[in-house]
């Protein structure tokens, strides 16, 4: 049997995920649109997965440096994004 190309599989996942995103994001209350933005910013730094591969498994120093740079920048985002989102959500949930 002919194998399905990885691109088509990826595309399938991609399109379905856009639909999931579409329906989930429309449910987000407008008051929380800023936290939505900072949390999506944090999770888009999941690109760190690729950065880790470059920094940890490459042989060439230049590649490792690219990997290191990407790991560092993605970490700034992940930590920064989650911390600032937590700060905001705590404000919304403060007891008077």
């Amino acid at each position: 049997m002919e194998m399905i190309s990885p691109f088509i599989l990826g595309l399938t996942v991609f399109i379905l995920a856009i639909f999931v995103g579409y329906y989930v994001v429309w449910k987000v209350t407008p008051a929380l649109h800023s936290p939505l933005m900072s949390v999506t910013n944090a999770i888009s730094s999941v690109i760190i997965v690729g950065a880790v591969l470059a920094a940890g498994s490459a042989q060439d120093t230049l590649t490792q440096l690219f990997g290191f740079g990407a790991v560092m920048m993605a970490s700034i985002n992940i930590f920064g994004g989650f911390v600032v989102t937590r700060r905001m959500l705590e404000m919304f949930n403060k007891k008077k």
Partner: protein, 464 residues
């Protein structure tokens, strides 16, 4: 076997991310959602670290530690008024790390299991090219957005002759280079793609005026997602694809909501040139029309004797850091038995939901902050509308004057309130460069001064 196991772990973290976004449907569930998001990220990083292809940990650990410390410190110290700049800066980092990962994948495809140098599949090269292009555009675009929001460069749109032609030519060149790159795997072409995309990012955001920043930020949010998805395709990693799609969709929806809030098409905003001083100047000098100015004593007296007050905050309130004084004023009014509520326009502030965060920071209860559709009908039964730091979003000519640049934009019907108190520094027009009819209405009282000082003075009057 191990590959299947990691794929399952990645699936688990994708589900966590979806639940994190879903948690934001209400303030109550949002914190649990955030914890799930952090869990998902930990699973993703842990799984990758454990994969056998990763041979050394020195670079990784130091990168995470350095980045983690920088990120945490910045996020803890940042003032909520500066949130839009912070988010723009964060977006730029996502873009740049996408570029770095794509470059690493090109230099050493073996490390990512996508072939070897000179023998990367054409499909992977297309994806890599897309990843680097979107990443690079996101990077420079976000840097420009950051500089504009931070006030490092003027918020006015920067336009030069033939701008659209240059951009179109660069875009076309980019597509041609992508195709050539996919056919040749030339490293020089890869760097050329990166360079042109960096340039394009600059040129795309420079002409967009300060008033459109909420759209720009949302758009860049979306781009950063697409960049992550592009890298996901290159590496054949479904977690990256799913997350990228979620973020991309989220940013796109926010952009749509912002555009609708301003009644402008996304194309119109991307083409740029709206807002800033040129628009105001082009209208030419106008005769000064009569308006009524009042003092803090007048304002205090009127509000004290009102039954209901609706506060309409805008970006001016954030600039003046007036949210705390404003809340104090509202508290005193409530003790006097006045019903106080807040009306938030979708594009108030410099990013979606910015006003809500600032009010939450000042301890304003979540329930008394209402969105445009929820409160617009109530203005007719409201005694006082207290407009502080907002302008264009209250302009009635958006409903009545088809020649107005903001015609058709949904606005808050503040003029229907019995009295309108309008806190403003001077009679200058708002960001859209349009004069506000509201200033000259009989039931409008202008309160000239800094938003914070005005609130403090009103508090003094109320306490007497």
């Amino acid at each position: 076997m191990i590959a299947n196991f990691s794929a399952l772990a990645y699936l688990a973290s994708s589900v966590c991310f979806i639940l994190a976004l879903q948690g934001l449907s209400s303030a109550k569930t949002s914190q649990r959602g955030l914890s799930l998001g952090i869990l998902g990220m930990s699973i993703a990083i842990g799984t990758t670290l454990a994969s056998p292809i990763v041979a050394s940990y020195g670079w990784i650990i130091s990168g995470i530690i350095v980045g983690g410390i920088i990120g945490t410190l910045i996020a803890k110290k940042i003032q909520m008024t500066a949130l839009p700049q912070l988010v723009a800066a964060f977006h730029s980092l996502v873009g740049l790390s996408a570029v770095c990962v794509a470059a690493a994948a090109l230099l050493e495809p073996e490390a990512f299991n996508i072939g070897s140098v000179g023998f990367i599949a054409a499909g992977s090269l297309v994806e890599m090219g897309f990843g680097v292009a979107i990443g690079a555009i996101t990077f420079t675009g976000s840097v420009v957005a950051f500089a504009k929001l931070q006030g490092l460069v003027s918020g006015n749109p920067l336009i030069f002759k033939g701008q659209h032609k240059v951009n179109a030519a660069l875009g076309l060149g980019l597509v041609v280079m992508l195709l050539l790159f996919a056919a040749s795997e030339s490293h020089n072409l890869f760097w050329a793609i990166a360079f042109v995309s960096f340039l394009l990012g600059f040129l795309l955001i420079l002409p967009i005026g300060g008033a459109d920043m909420p759209v720009v930020i949302s758009m860049l949010n979306s781009y950063s997602g697409w960049a992550a998805a592009g890298i996901g395709f290159t590496l054949g990693n479904s977690l990256l694809i799913i997350t990228g799609a979620l973020v991309g969709a989220s940013g796109a929806i926010l952009s749509y909501i912002m555009c609708k809030g301003m009644n402008r098409s996304i194309l119109n905003i991307i083409l740029g040139g709206f807002g800033g001083e040129q628009a105001a100047a082009s209208q030419g000098p106008k005769e000064q029309r009569p308006y009524k100015a009042g003092s803090s004593e007048d304002a205090g007296f009127i509000m004290k004797n009102a039954k209901s007050v609706v506060i309409v905050p805008g970006y001016g309130m954030a600039v003046a850091q007036a949210q705390h004084a404003l809340r104090e004023m509202a508290d005193i009014l409530q003790q006097e038995g006045v019903e106080v509520r807040y009306a938030i326009h979708p594009v108030a502030g410099r990013m979606p939901g910015h006003m809500n965060v600032l009010l939450a920071e000042a301890n304003v209860p979540y329930e008394s902050v209402l969105e445009l559709e929820e409160i617009n009908r109530d203005f007719a039964q409201t005694d006082v509308a207290f407009v502080i730091g907002a302008n264009d979003v209250t302009n009635p000519s958006a409903k009545t004057d088809p020649t107005s640049p903001i015609y058709g934009m949904p606005v808050l019907d503040v003029e229907k309130a019995k009295t309108v108190l309008f806190v403003k520094r001077s009679m200058s027009p708002g960001y859209a460069g349009v004069d506000n009819e509201l200033f000259y209405k009989d039931n409008t009282l202008m309160l000239f001064g800094d938003a914070k000082k005005m609130c403090e003075e009103i508090i003094k009057t109320l306490e007497e």
